[in-house]
């Protein structure tokens, strides 16, 4: 359905971390089937930051959640496509990638939080209100680093402690762990966990991490909570970090510091980042490449610099015109008319035609594919070849300021 | 709204049972031959004591005093219908009046009324009703009175809460600015918005009242020989050790079905009407 976009020259040599191919996620709704994500393809390379931009409801969050299979099914359905993922070892050993949509549940659990981590939009809601910060961060270590927690000679650790190190101990077992034969081992394990948690929190420049560990989420500020989320996400040094609007719920003054923190940590650990946002100025600042989403499709992709300086798709142009910038004169800010269309039982057409100034009849009948234009990829009929589509040249739309 | 309610199979089941029970209550004089002079008294046939179900003329058997269980089951529905309609009518009216006074006038009056409500809620429902009925003496009308005294409190609370909630909303201010009188604000904005939770509560109470009344008459607070389900279960209780299970089982089943049906419908109504339990 979608032709592979021309890979941009920069970083093109870096190995792939994730390759999304024709991803389709549908939702059963009262009126039919909503195609929330409808044939999305993109890739993220090692150490790169890809921005996924679009309006609310364009499918960017669903795309991101599909990586960890966090879309609720039902009503959601993974209707097609694949998400290939190469972990660090796979890249080193030249192994085949795993398809995140199809790996067995057990493997998925091992990937979540360890190889791929996620930061959520609202840190106030994404932390468990009834659990101390320390306990919440510790869970990641128990889940993915249990062997480390057992100390030097893990072979000689009692069965009960071994179970506790993987959070399998039931209430009576936990009680038993406080009693003499196991107490010493259990305490040592607890100390090692605490050290790891404190170190993870310190990474995010939280002052006094040991003190914060005993606190509950409601006792912390929004920025603090997001730092905790970041610490938790980066605790196991993942290959890919998915950041779903990580600063939307925060005060503007805090935003900048959180962004800087993510960028710093990313550079230090060489993590690839999938950055999801509706905020174009943030994306411009943070990302190497962008993919612009509209109504479940990617309409344009390319290097951040090029896409921002010379957008091709009418939708991207509209978005850019809606962003205030210092060089702009007052009153030049433009809004795109209308809303994102419902994607229930869609017919073949350009999803943007209802709001596009340049739309012609053909746009209502033909589904544009993502085409390589210059270094970018764009899904607009204005850039298509009439011969390939089998229509006269004159029936193609004409977008201002482009030469075919 | 009606369509949404009917989409839930358990609600439909409840409605079907209610219709069946009401039909039985209304057609009681047709289905059975009314006892003379008082049809709400069980007819006694002393020659047919402890007859098992299936006996000709007594499809559900008879009690140890020769009462026809089928007659009791049918006329018990009529008794229950009267009881629940009267008590719900009284309690909803009293509750709305008290709740409105407290919520709308507010201040000292509100404070006093709400403390009274707190005290009423401090005594478990059944025990309160039991105590009232006990000091008034055993009779079915005293049970009705006792239940009325106990059950109004919830409505007062619902109405008052709703009024206070609505008072804080902007549109009541808007109405005031446009010059609407207090009463018309009350009639147009407050009552319609409060009616939903009252309806849900009233539906559930239609069942709860019959359940509580049957419990009181089972304990022995209704007149002996009354065609009422709780009385019948109590009459049949002595026979169970001798294997005479029917005289208790059938009337008790009726109480259960009655309460179950109204609870099912009330529950379904709440799911549809209460925006807080929205389905995501």
């Amino acid at each position: 359905m979608t032709a592979p976009a021309a890979s941009p020259p920069s970083r093109a040599t870096a190995p792939l971390v994730v390759s999304v191919q024709d991803l389709q996620v549908h939702f059963k709704v009262k009126t039919g089937v909503a195609h929330a994500v409808d044939g999305v393809s993109f890739e993220v390379r090692d150490g790169e930051t890809l921005g996924l931009v679009g309006e609310t409801g364009c499918g960017k969050t669903v795309t991101a959640r599909s990586f960890l299979r966090l879309v609720k099914t039902p009503p959601g359905v993974y209707a097609g496509g694949r998400i290939d993922f190469w972990s660090r070892e796979a890249r080193r050993n030249g192994d085949q990638p795993v398809d995140l949509l199809r790996v067995p549940d057990r493997e998925m659990l091992a990937i979540r939080g360890d190889r791929i981590a996620m930061i959520f939009q609202d840190p106030g809601k994404a932390l468990n209100p009834a659990m101390s910060i320390g306990d919440q961060v510790a869970e990641v270590f128990y889940q993915h680093r249990s062997e480390e927690l057992l100390g030097e000679r893990p072979g000689r650790v009692p069965f009960l402690v071994r179970r506790a190190s993987r959070q399998l101990a039931s209430a009576p077992e936990r009680l038993a762990l406080r009693l003499p034969p196991w107490r010493r081992r259990a305490r040592a394990m607890r100390r090692r966990v605490d050290d790891l948690v404190a170190a993870a929190l310190a990474e995010t420049q939280i002052a006094n991490p040991r003190k914060i560990m005993d606190r509950f989420p409601h006792e912390l500020s929004g920025g603090m909570k997001q730092r905790v989320m970041i610490a938790q996400a980066l605790a196991c040094n993942p290959d890919l970090l998915i950041a779903d609007e990580p600063t939307t719920a925060l005060d503007v003054t805090v935003q900048a510091r959180i962004l800087e923190l993510i960028a710093n940590l990313q550079h230090r650990h060489g993590t690839s980042v999938l950055y999801i946002s509706h905020d174009l100025s943030l994306v411009r600042q943070m990302c190497d490449r962008v993919a612009v989403m509209y109504a479940g499709r990617i309409v344009e992709t390319g290097d951040t610099g090029t896409v921002f300086s010379d957008p091709l798709h009418p939708y991207t142009r509209g978005l850019m015109a809606a962003v205030p910038s210092a060089s702009q004169k007052r009153g030049e800010l433009l809004a795109i008319e209308g809303n994102v269309p419902e994607m229930v039982n869609p017919t073949p057409c350009c999803r943007f035609h209802t709001r596009c100034r340049f739309a012609v009849d053909l746009c209502r009948q033909v589904d544009p594919e993502l085409l390589a234009v210059r270094d970018q990829g764009v899904a607009c009929l204005a850039y298509a070849s009439a011969a390939e589509l089998g229509v006269p040249e004159s029936s193609l739309p004409l977008v201002e300021g482009t030469s075919r | 709204m009606a369509r949404e309610v009917l989409r839930n199979p358990t609600t439909v089941a409840g409605l079907v049972i209610i219709v069946a029970l009401l039909t039985m209550a209304i057609l009681a004089p047709v289905v059975t031959e009314p006892n003379i002079p008082d049809p709400y008294q069980m007819p006694r046939d002393w020659s047919m004591r402890d007859a098992p179900p299936g006996t000709p003329g007594h499809p559900l058997g008879t009690t140890s005093t020769g009462g026809d269980v089928f007659y009791g089951v049918v006329w018990g529905a009529r008794t229950s219908l009267q009881l629940s309609v009267i008590v719900v009518g009284i309690t909803v009216t009293v509750g709305i009046i008290v709740g409105s006074l407290a919520g709308f006038i507010g201040g000292k009056l509100d404070e006093i009324l709400m403390r009274v409500v707190d005290v009423f809620l401090a005594i478990p429902e059944l025990i309160f009703a039991l105590a009232i009925a006990a000091v008034l003496g055993p009779s079915f009308s005293n049970i009705i009175f006792a239940l009325s005294v106990v059950f109004w409190v919830k409505y007062a609370r619902i109405i008052r809460g709703q009024i206070i909630h609505i008072k804080q909303n902007d549109y009541v201010d808007a109405a005031r600015v446009t010059g609407d009188s207090r009463f018309s604000i009350y009639r147009k904005d407050v009552l319609p918005n409060s009616i939903t939770p009252v309806m849900v509560q009233a539906t559930m109470d239609m069942g709860g009242i019959v359940l509580t009344a049957a419990t009181l008459s089972f304990i022995g607070l209704a007149e002996a020989g009354l065609a009422e389900w709780g009385v019948l279960v109590s009459d049949g209780q002595s026979g169970i050790s001798a294997g005479k299970w029917w005289a208790s089982t059938f009337p008790g089943l009726m109480v259960f079905l009655w309460a179950l049906a109204f609870n099912l419908v009330g529950d379904g109504l709440r799911d549809v009407l209460d925006p807080r339990t929205e389905k995501r």
């Binding site: 468990n128 659990m131 | 401090a122 059944l126 105590a131 003496g137 279960v233």
Partner: protein, 337 residues
């Protein structure tokens, strides 16, 4: 801290509500019937009746009578219980153990079963187990306890002969001492397994009957709050950390869903308390409920007053504890507001 303030405020209102309750109880005894009816006999002359009335201060103004009664209650003198032919206080103390043992046992059954069922249904929302849980909960709230008890008796006592009614086997009862009046505790103190099992066997059926309604209430609340919690972001965040579904449910969703469920435990306890009256009649359990039922039928006002007051205070106390627990558990509400 706000939580202390909250508890303090609740503690201050507590005696006020008890005073209110006592006024209602007192009023009840004066509006209907005759507070001394139980002492009167047919052959008494009017003069003798007047003498009794005088002795109990029935000619004094009502507030004076109330104060006299309330003063008596506070000093442990609640009058003479006609139905048990002993002072009310003494009769109450004799029977409270039986009722509390039954109620606590039923409460334990109800809380464990209710939370378990609610979790089972809520975690499988809109699938068969969820619908079954819903039907079970609504049935529980609609079940006439007296009928349920009789059905169980017909099955387990009359037909299967597995249980007996009463509170214990007379020979087993005689074999050990009863210092606490709680037979299970007494059995443990005496170190007698036979007595312990005997106490449990006799208690099983009444406790299940009694706990059924409360189980339904708790299961329903647990189910709906679990469904709500499972929609929260932190649940997905826990999944994103790589926690297996079982841990997500147990450590995250269920723990938070328990907080609102605690509030209905108070309500459920009220359900248990009022249920004891009927259950004790049917299972011939020698507790407060059966004492009350006897008193009701014979118009023994001193007993009725004492019972209603005692039950209300107990009910209020449980609710107070529940509220404090809730305030403590839900840090968001108390400390955040």
């Amino acid at each position: 801290m706000q939580i202390r303030e909250y508890i303090l405020r609740r503690l201050m209102i507590f005696p006020l509500i008890i005073i209110g309750t006592s006024i209602i109880v007192f009023t009840l005894s004066r509006v209907g019937g005759n507070p001394i009816a139980i002492y009167l006999e047919h052959e008494m002359t009017p003069a003798e009746v007047a003498e009794i009335e005088e002795r109990y201060g029935l000619n004094d103004p009502l507030p004076v009578q109330y104060l006299a009664w309330a003063g008596g209650v506070l000093t442990g003198d609640m009058g003479w219980s006609g139905v048990s032919a002993q002072p009310v206080t003494e009769a109450l103390l004799d029977r409270v153990g039986a009722t509390l043992e039954l109620a606590v046992f039923a409460a334990v059954v109800a809380v464990t079963l209710g939370i378990g069922l609610g979790t089972f249904g809520g975690a499988r929302r809109d699938r068969l187990p969820d619908h079954l849980t819903r039907v079970f909960s609504i049935s529980g709230a609609s079940m006439p306890i007296f009928w349920f008890a009789i059905l169980l008796l017909i099955l387990f006592w009359v037909n299967l002969g597995w249980v007996s009614i009463g509170r214990s086997d007379p020979t087993v009862f005689a074999s050990i001492a009863h210092p606490t009046g709680l037979y299970t505790v007494d059995a443990i103190l005496a170190g007698s397994l036979t007595a312990f099992l005997d106490a449990l066997a006799y208690m099983a059926l009444p406790a299940i009957t009694l706990g059924f309604g409360a189980t339904a209430i708790i299961a329903r609340m647990m189910r709906s709050s679990l469904v709500e919690e499972l929609n929260e972001d932190y649940v997905d965040a826990a999944r994103a950390k790589g926690l297996p579904e079982k841990l997500v449910l147990r450590r995250h969703a269920r723990r938070n869903a328990l907080i609102p469920t605690v509030t209905v435990i108070g309500l459920g306890f009220g359900f248990l308390l009022q249920g004891t009256v009927v259950v004790e009649i049917i299972f011939r359990w020698p507790g407060l409920g059966r004492w009350m039922a006897d008193a009701v039928l014979r118009g023994d006002q001193a007993t009725i007053m004492a019972y209603v007051l005692f039950t209300s205070v107990l009910f209020l106390a449980v609710n107070l504890i529940v509220d404090v627990m809730y305030a403590y558990l839900d840090r968001r509400v108390v400390l955040g507001a």
